[in-house]
Point group: C2
Chain length 166, copies 2
DNA sequence: CAGCTAAATAGTTATGATTACTAAAAAAAA
DNA sequence: TTTTTTTTAGTAATCATAACTATTTAGCTG
């Protein structure tokens, strides 16, 4: 489910504009890292992104890759996937979806679950491989933490871009 | 959903016997680590287990804790939970279940999903807190990996003990 | 289109959880 | 008890990720 080149460029452009609008700098490095993630559906690890972006920006530092990935994640433009004892995997697909992960080679494919009650038997899954285990985590804020609440992180980047695309 | 003291001791005993039967040594350290995990339902991290076991075995090393946790996991007696950028959390509850995790304090509670299609609205969840996001990973072996397959790890410890308990 | 200034980067070092290493200790068998 | 093999304690290494700091640059000003 890769998006086309035009849409990739449209989103990179939107990203640049939103950056400027909110006082963040739309640097070459940031654009290339984001573009690299928009281009692919294979959920690359940080090292992979680093290797690929380096072809176009040979002097880019690994630190910049990690820093930018954190920024994009904080702003809701990308998400982080994967389980413990694995490298983090990044995803610019902001549609709600789940993942099939091969525990042997690391292949990570998207699962869309309209019929949520049968996700184990979804065509998408059986086409990709055999399911051995299902991991579900519901993440949120527990009762006791809700009492001493604080302000949330801002997702303004994501909101602007997602709204303009759907 | 903690299990009683009798059941804890019964399982530690079963573990010792199964160890001997399969040529693994039922050491004091192993028994105490496993007992510590059987005793609680709070999914402690490795450091937490280390701290607790140290009260009874002051000279135990952190390495032994990690090594034993890996062993117990490999044999299917415990499972590892948690997402990326979190410490691993361990669980001796071998019933199939999911987790609610508080992203602020780390509280991890068990979710049983008889009605799988409505897991977002489960009583258990709403009693614990507010869900912000659902993470599902279906883990298994992809088509291309199934071709060059290898032998699986043995789960004989788990099989023996689980069968005798249910 | 220079010059300005806050923000971002490159290159490097540090961190923190987990794993590996090795001499010494201990469990189980004989 | 003695022997043999596994396991441990203590410590060093690893690996992904984050922090640090001098230098560079994006975007503004005129
Ligand atoms: Mn995805
Ligand atoms: Mn649990
Ligand atoms: Zn695979
Ligand atoms: Zn909490």
């Amino acid at each position: 489910m890769k998006i086309g080149t035009n849409e990739v460029e449209r989103r990179v452009q939107a990203f640049s504009e939103v950056c400027r609008r909110y006082g963040a700098k739309a640097t070459h490095q940031r654009r290339e890292i984001y573009r690299e993630l928009l281009r692919t559906d294979e959920h690359p690890a940080a090292e992979t992104i680093y290797a690929r972006v380096r072809k176009r920006i040979p002097a880019i530092s690994l630190d910049t890759v990690y820093r930018t990935l954190r920024l994009l994640e904080k702003k809701g433009l990308i998400s982080r996937a994967g389980f413990l004892n694995e490298k983090a995997r990044f995803d610019a697909n902001t549609l709600p979806h789940h993942h099939f992960v091969c525990t042997r080679c690391g292949f990570m494919g998207d699962i869309y679950h309209k019929e949520r009650d049968e996700f184990l038997a979804l065509r998408d899954v059986s086409a990709m491989g055999t399911v051995n285990s299902v991991h579900i985590e519901l993440r949120g804020i527990c009762k006791s933490c809700q009492k001493n609440s604080r302000l949330k992180d801002n997702y303004f980047f994501a909101i602007l871009i997602v709204i303009s695309t759907i």
